[in-house]
Amino acid sequence: MEGTTTMNRRFACTTGDLDPGESMTVPGEVKIALHRTEDGEFFATADTCSHEEWSLGEDSDLEDDELICPLHMARFNLRTGEPTCFPATIALKTYAVEVEGDDVYVVA
């Protein structure tokens, strides 16, 4: 199991790099947005909003377990990627996050 995840995972940041309530974009072939809720939990989703072109890692807002796109106020559940209000109707792809010590990895 370790082998398969290691192959597809990439280093995102250290836990100190991302404050609670903040998001960032993890560069790579497929851009991934890494989010850290106010409670400190990490989640990863597709970086581009499913409604219209916008980087959710660059700019988005977290509220409880929801992610809000600042372009048109689409909301998504961080755990499932499902949209929770209009205008989005398509789920965001979600990715697993692995925290090892201070290092945070996303599994693409």
């Binding site: 106020m73 909301r75 499902e82 949209p83 929770t84 209000c85 209009f86 205008p87």
Partner: protein, 412 residues
């Protein structure tokens, strides 16, 4: 959208839902009903012949020389099939009989319903002398945008009546075509009635920065021309030659067809926070036409924003089906002008300007507004979505502006 609640029997709900209006509020209502598991008959009546299309591009992408100028569809033919909805286009509603539960369309056909959703939106105001004069345009629907775009060409002269968002977005789009643009605004400062003098002046300044002429404190006296507009006569005696006139002086809720129905219509349709029309069970209003009690402001508010139509669609579906009420959202609107994105959260008109950072000219402006008690009621940003989201949270949590300012990072 949220999953159907297994305790509610939406799948065996056989009510017939009639939605009048096939734009954002109407179409999204159908999507919300279906995603909640409702399997009853749904019919949508649309006054326009166009397949349902999205509204924001009308004054943005549809006017751009870089686009095809085609309307942006709200859904696909495949979506319509999946939604199992009877979509009647070119079917303007002309009469409502709430006792008999029947809506009559222009062609005389009677449409019976168990539940009615009124989502007829708002119609653009025109100048009295503008009706029937070629070259004079309002900008509210796809046909308006198609016609207006066909008139744009380098060197033509456009006069824009009204420096609100529609007028400003048209002016910006026309400047990109190298049209010679003059914007005429009745107020001494554009948008001052909703954003105050300082921020209104900042945004009005964008016109001059991008080669348009802005004339303020002056109104339109008369449009000159026999069959086609030739000039605009102003209240101060000046005359502006014009090939194109765009009238952007606001919109009126489309409620004329409800005359005689007994529904409570004043500035829009009065409804409860649930969007049920006051005194009329089984009749709901959504979008631009609805004037519900607002959860945050505690009084009836009618909002013509695109996001409001989306929010109302989800709310009206939950009210009809008895499913959980969606999380309330603040009023939100954006505008694209001269390459800048302006975003407004909350209702700045309910307060005074209490904080300003940056400027429109530098492409980064933040303005926050607070009520008499110092609590934030709204904010505007230009080119700063991150600050917009900070302001959104602060308005939602009724934060005092002094606390908000203290917690702001120095550089934002």
């Amino acid at each position: 959208m949220s999953s159907p609640d297994p305790t509610l029997d939406t799948a065996n709900d056989t009510r017939k839902v009639l939605v009048v209006g096939a734009s954002v509020a109407g179409v999204r209502t159908v999507q919300a009903l279906r995603s909640a598991g409702f399997t009853g008959v749904i019919t949508v009546l649309g006054a326009e012949r166009h397949f349902p299309y999205d509204k924001p591009p009308i004054s943005k992408e549809m006017l751009s020389s870089e686009s095809t100028g085609e309307p942006v569809p709200l859904l696909t033919e495949d979506d319509v099939a999946k939604l199992d909805v009877e979509l009647r286009l070119g079917a303007a509603a002309v009469r409502l009989d709430p006792a008999a539960k029947v809506v009559t369309t222009e062609d005389g056909e009677a449409h019976a319903y168990d539940v009615l959703v009124i989502a007829t939106g708002a119609s653009a105001r025109n100048l009295p002398s503008g009706e029937g004069l070629a070259g004079v345009h309002t900008l509210r629907n796809a046909e308006d945008a198609v016609q207006l775009r066909s008139e744009l060409a380098p060197g033509r002269k456009a006069v824009v009546v009204g420096a609100g968002f529609i007028g400003a977005e048209f002016a910006a789009a026309a400047r990109a075509w190298d049209v010679d643009v003059t914007v005429v605004e009745a107020q001494p400062i554009p948008l001052a009635h909703i954003l105050g003098d300082r921020i209104g002046a900042e945004l009005g300044g964008l016109h001059e920065l991008h080669g348009a002429t802005l004339m303020t404190g002056v109104t339109t006296k008369r449009l000159v021309g026999e069959t086609r507009v030739e000039a605009v006569e102003l209240s101060d005696g000046r005359t502006l030659p014009a090939d194109i006139v765009v009238v952007g002086i606001g919109a009126e809720p489309a409620t004329a067809w409800l005359k005689g129905s007994g529904l409570p219509v004043s500035n829009g349709i009065d409804c409860e926070a649930s969007l049920e029309v006051t005194g009329f069970p089984d009749v709901y209003a959504a979008g631009d036409v609805a004037r519900p009690l607002h959860f945050l402001y505690g009084e009836p508010v009618r909002i013509e924003h695109w996001t409001n139509a989306n929010d109302h669609a989800a709310l009206v579906a939950s009210s009809i089906l008895g499913t959980p009420v969606p999380r309330p959202a603040l009023p939100y609107v954006w505008s694209d002008q001269y390459g800048h994105r302006i975003q407004i959260i909350g209702l700045p008109s309910r307060g005074e300007l209490v904080l300003t950072r940056g400027s429109a000219a530098t492409g980064n402006l933040v303005a926050a507004y607070a009520g008499p008690d110092g609590v934030l009621v709204g904010a505007l940003v230009l080119g700063n979505p991150r600050m917009l989201m900070k302001c959104r949270k602060a308005v939602m949590k009724s934060v005092h502006h002094a606390d908000f300012e203290r917690d702001l990072p120095a550089a934002s």
